[in-house]
Symmetry: C2
């Protein structure tokens, strides 16, 4: 515990939720590192391979920053990540890319979805923690590169679009499945969103609107790629 | 071509050799990135996984710096790396780690050998290029971590030492095979070492001494790990 510990952390329920959230984001980043590095092997050329390696390297940098912040809070980063390991690993196992283009869509659509979701949650956090989370979600420059490559592939062979549209829907479905599993498991984290006796949160209607925003952004990303959501 | 181009690059044979060398080092770094990221998947725990991801990320940073420097010289990084692709890919295919400890030994022994070799060559380079090469070889902090993990594994089960000693010899053998193949293929690069009409180089005796230094350092690294070379 250092002077970096925000005063809000004195509330043990809040502190537990923040450690949970940071653990989830950190494990998401190291998983994204592994996935991007793995998908880099399928790159059609050295320039594309380097681009995925760059993205992976950015994810690692975010991961390291989150681990440092967890340590500053007096938490053990490995213990904080552990509860999220199974859900993230299952997500990645169920959505392992079978080719280069699927990997690109996951990098853009999956990361975008995660970033939207954590940004919504960040609104309920103390300023220090919020800043750390938001900075760790900063786009690694995936968007422009992926959109360019996927659109070019569709221009070469329009049948690619149907296959990748299905892939995008599968990503969304698997992400929701795992998110529900985490929510059912981690009461403190869920309470961050739904509020508590003396903390504001989202009621059912607000939860519905959040879900609508996530879905709309997902649809927009799919459209950017030239895909039906 | 920018103002960064060192005057020595006006000699076309030297320029060709430098582009070759930078291409070889850069491809080595991106290969190391891929290998470390791959081996991270075998990590026994999250902390170890993070450590390999960190090393991979450092290799990527070096790679990006070398590509930038190649571009500054007016060379195309992808074209510069291409001639070395097969030899490095073959090396990595022939030495794919079958477990976590083999991966660690490769990270330490393989990187160390490459760094020693390029450092020797760097002595024949113009100061700007030498600095770029030397900085890209800076140890990513692999040494201490690997020595600690390998020694601990041997302490737990001394039979591990025999297997890993064989592994280290295999790495050395495969590295020499591929280095010879590159030397036979790339005349300009080889001429950097052996010299030319108006450029000093190593005669056969000096070449022998270089080889002795490389072998001695390899033996020292194996000893650090608690292994017979």
């Amino acid at each position: 515990m250092t002077s970096a510990r925000p005063p809000a952390m004195e509330d043990p329920v809040y502190a537990e939720a923040v450690v949970d959230l940071l653990g989830a984001v950190a494990y998401g980043e190291i998983s994204a590192f592994e996935r991007l590095a793995q998908d880099a092997r399928m790159a059609p050329g050295l320039a594309d391979k380097g681009e995925l390696a760059r993205m992976a390297s950015v994810e690692y940098t975010h991961y390291a920053r989150l681990c440092d912040y967890l340590t500053d809070l007096g938490a053990d980063p490995v213990a904080a990540m552990e509860p999220f390991r199974e859900a993230f690993d299952d997500f990645h196992a169920r959505t392992a890319s079978s080719d280069w283009l699927e990997g690109l869509v996951t990098a853009y659509v999956g990361d975008g979805l995660a970033a939207d979701f954590y940004t919504e949650i960040a609104a309920f956090l103390d300023p220090e923690t919020r800043t750390v989370i938001i900075e760790s979600l900063r786009d690694a420059g995936n968007a422009e590169f992926v959109v360019d490559r996927v659109r070019a592939a569709i221009a070469r062979d329009h049948r690619v679009a149907g296959r990748l549209a299905l892939w995008g829907r599968r990503l969304m479905g698997e992400a929701l499945t795992q998110a529900q599993r985490v929510a059912a498991d981690r009461d403190a984290l869920t309470a961050l969103l739904t509020g508590g006796v003396d903390r504001p949160g989202l009621d059912l209607a607000a939860m519905g609107r959040l879900f609508t925003r996530l879905t709309e952004n997902h649809t927009k990303r799919m459209e950017n790629l030239g895909l039906d959501a």
